[in-house]
């Protein structure tokens, strides 16, 4: 490999505190894996239910290290020209037409396949950037299995091969985060190249802290109640359990309504912020009131 990992962090503890300073409360596992990713120079595959702060983790790491965040949102049908690079063929055409007479064919040929005519897309941009960057490849489980292969070269060797130009190697190894909602099994090849981190719903204590840091003005008492009720709801067998962001929304709503203590009535009336399916709401309301 051409470049050594950058060693951005001193210790696991430092990662943890750094993340806390940008309002992201990491647990031991999250901080540890982020630290290792930096030391080993490997991408991190973050998996877990929706709304547990996977994307936020990459954003927070970027904010904490003062790096630029480059984001590639994955979707079905994502291809090379959207993810890696594309030739700016309009410009190439212009170049050819501009001086038809003077250049020989080989000169033009060499000229139009040069950096100037290359449009960088997120992946190429991330490894060619001169400044520190964090690359976020979001919801990688949405692309087809075949498209995953696009990512392999950049993930293992931090380089991109362009047939006309040769291989472009990274100037520095960026921190790479891939997120997945686990809607399908990712390929072995991809998993092998990554460190694996599973982010689950936080424990009650951590969720309470998250509410306290993210919702200004919330009282300790309310945060405690919110996190306890959310935990109870998550234990039910629901179609979609409330995510952390929904917990935060709920806490904010309660704050706006000037509610200090949640009783059954308020819980029932505001459940729709936590839960998005009618059957789930009915079930939770039933469970919480008559037991």
């Amino acid at each position: 490999m051409a470049v050594e990992p950058a060693n951005r962090f001193e210790s696991v503890q430092q990662v943890r505190e750094g993340l806390k300073s940008v309002n992201y409360l990491a647990d031991e596992g999250i901080a540890g894996v982020a630290f290792l990713a930096d030391r080993l120079g490997k991408p991190v595959l973050v998996e877990g239910p929706a709304g547990t702060g996977k994307t936020q983790l990459a954003k927070s790491i970027a904010e904490m290290t003062g790096a630029r965040l480059i984001r590639l949102q994955c979707y079905e049908g994502l291809d090379e020209s959207k993810a890696l690079y594309e030739w700016n063929y309009k410009k190439q055409l212009l170049r050819i037409q501009a001086d038809r007479t003077s250049d020989s064919w080989s000169e033009v040929h060499d000229d139009i396949f040069s950096d100037e005519f290359l449009l960088t897309r997120p992946l190429l941009e991330a490894i060619t950037a001169p400044d520190p960057v964090v690359l976020l490849i979001d919801e990688v489980d949405r692309v087809e299995v075949e498209t995953e292969a696009l990512l392999l070269e950049i993930l293992s060797d931090y380089q991109v091969s362009i047939p006309e130009l040769g291989t472009i190697e990274a100037k520095q190894i960026p921190l790479v985060f891939l997120t997945s909602n686990n809607t399908r099994e990712l390929s072995e090849a991809l998993k092998r190249r990554c460190l694996y981190l599973h982010v689950d719903y936080p424990s009650m204590e951590r969720e309470k802290e998250i509410v306290l840091t993210k919702v200004p003005g919330v009282t300790e008492h309310l945060a405690d109640q919110v996190s306890r009720i959310v935990r109870s709801i998550r234990m039910l067998d629901l179609k979609k359990s409330p995510s952390v962001s929904e917990t935060l929304d709920w806490a904010r709503t309660l704050l706006l309504l000037n509610i200090d203590t949640i009783d059954e009535q308020t819980a029932k009336e505001t459940l729709h912020i936590l839960l998005k399916y009618q059957t789930d709401i009915a079930k939770a309301a039933k469970e919480l009131s008559v037991d």
């Binding site: 696991v12 031991e28 540890g32 290792l36 686990n182 099994e185 694996y196 949640i262 399916y277």
Partner: protein, 487 residues
């Protein structure tokens, strides 16, 4: 980087042993992952147990459902290799100190003479446990877990009994269910009177959570003692937890069922995706004359670009016929979950359940989004009992043929699920033969181990002759293999 010299040899051996143990437990660990782990541990001190565990986990385990198995192996393998994991006998002084502190706090109880925890009566232990649970006192809970295992489990060196036996013995003596009630009473008192439903519910969840943690402490303690007694290698084998894909449907616990359910969704998606892909990449059909002529216009009337008719994609139709009698009850629950998951992926799925009568239950699954409710309705409302509620495949099939046989067409794939234990009734296997003649495919999934087939009243061979294949389907791995084959 300079500080991280080449890993010591002892560390290498330790890790290699660990990886070998993971592989023995059925976890796939590739060579590169092993190398990554070697590199990772150079950056993390082994003394930091948690960070060390996460470092190994991040490099070696790439599937969350394998985490539990990994954790068990980790604990067994490293349980005796760290200062904080010594046995209770070794650090009894620490617990005694805790105990003394507690006594000082409760000076009014005036029991200063007994300095050691060993002298406590079971009632006192129960009392202390209750206090610890009430105040969520982690250290005390851990100490009590050690103490109760030492006292109640009755572990004898060299006795070849599994951990569950000791766990059962310990828990029986502690009466944790009674404890929950007492805790609830106490909480109600502390709150000064009646709790509202919501409060009560929250308190109960909280206490259940704490009791669960306490149980885990006990389990860990038993494990440590077993390992100390019999050694890592012997215990690693017995304490191994099956991976979710190897859990048998017939004997799955509630927790395991939950994780099976999660694993089902991607599987049905895979099934649907595979069928779709097959359609897209299907072979070319005959020449499409109209289309070729139309495209020839852009070449001045020369048919330079021949166009072909693609075979019309056959929309897969699925008919699932499942036995839900007592003998396959656990499997049936799983089957119903599978059917429910499939219903989301395929446009045309019809499902039937039977014991000795048969009934269509497609509507139950369609009308609700809640799988629990659907299963409940199937179990209560479906009319599946004809005479005595013992499986009668023959009669059920006969009725199926009579009522729904006309709906089986050349596009239909029929899935039969059951153990084919027919209670010595007539097999009526001609129905299966007829179905196969009309349908595209007929498959039979049997939740019994292959060695039990055709023993006793099982007549799966009789039916199997008329299907396109009988598959053993005892766990997720086998189901997955079937899906691969089907598509």
């Amino acid at each position: 980087m300079s500080a991280a010299a080449a890993p010591q040899k002892s560390m290498l051996d330790l890790l290699n042993g660990f990886v070998a143990e993971l592989r023995n437990a059925g976890l796939p660990v590739s060579l590169t992952e092993n190398l990554d782990a070697m590199e990772a541990v150079q950056h993390i001190p082994i003394e930091d147990r948690e960070a060390f565990k996460y470092a190994l986990g991040a490099t070696l385990i790439k599937n969350n459902s394998h985490w539990r198995a990994f954790e068990t192996v980790f604990e067994v393998y490293f349980s005796l290799r760290g200062p904080e994991y010594r046995l209770a006998d070794a650090d009894a002084s620490a617990i005694d100190e805790l105990w003394r502190e507690m006594q000082e706090q409760q000076a009014e109880e005036n029991r200063g003479a007994s300095g050691s925890m060993d002298a406590l009566t079971p009632e006192e232990i129960a009392q202390m446990l209750m206090q610890a649970l009430l105040n969520a006192d982690q250290a005390m809970m851990r100490a009590l877990a050690k103490q109760s295992v030492q006292r109640f489990a009755g572990m004898e060196p060299g006795r070849p009994v599994g951990g569950t036996y000791y766990l059962y013995r310990t828990l029986r003596n502690l009466d944790l269910d009674g404890m929950l009630d007492k805790l609830m009473e106490q909480a109600a008192q502390d709150a000064g009177g009646e709790l509202t439903h919501l409060e009560e519910r929250l308190e109960r969840d909280e206490f259940e959570h704490r009791i669960d943690e306490f149980k885990k402490e006990i389990e860990a303690e038993i494990r440590r003692r077993l390992v100390a007694d019999r050694g890592v290698e012997a215990m690693a084998k017995t304490l191994r937890k099956p991976l979710p894909e190897d859990v048998e449907f017939m004997h799955a616990s509630r927790d395991e069922m939950q994780s099976l359910k999660k694993a089902l969704q991607p599987l049905t998606r895979k099934l649907a995706a595979r069928l779709a892909r097959k359609r897209k990449h299907g072979r070319k059909g005959p020449l499409d004359f109209r289309n070729t002529v139309r495209h020839s216009l852009s070449y001045g009337g020369v048919p330079a670009e021949p166009k072909f008719k693609y075979p019309r994609p056959a929309k897969p139709e699925l008919m699932v016929i499942a036995d839900i009698s007592g003998s396959v009850a656990a499997f049936a629950r799983f089957t119903l979950m599978l059917v429910y998951a499939m219903q989301g992926q395929f446009s045309k799925v019809r499902s039937f359940v039977f014991i000795d009568g048969i009934d269509e239950v497609t509507e139950f699954f369609k009308s609700t989004e809640d799988i629990q409710e659907a299963i409940h309705r199937v179990n209560t409302e479906a009319d599946v009992v004809w005479v005595d509620g013992h499986s009668d495949y023959g009669h059920a099939f006969e009725v199926f043929w009579e009522r729904y046989g006309k709906d089986v067409g050349p596009k239909t794939t029929v899935l039969l699920l059951g153990d084919a234990r027919n209670n010595y009734h007539a097999s009526q296997s001609w129905v299966v033969r007829e179905i196969r003649q009309k349908a595209r495919h007929v498959y039979w999934l049997n939740p019994e181990p292959r060695s039990y087939w055709n023993t006793g009243d099982s007549i799966v061979g009789d039916y199997g002759n008329h299907t396109d294949g009988v598959f053993e389907c005892r766990n997720l791995r086998q189901l997955e293999a079937f899906v691969e084959k089907l598509a």
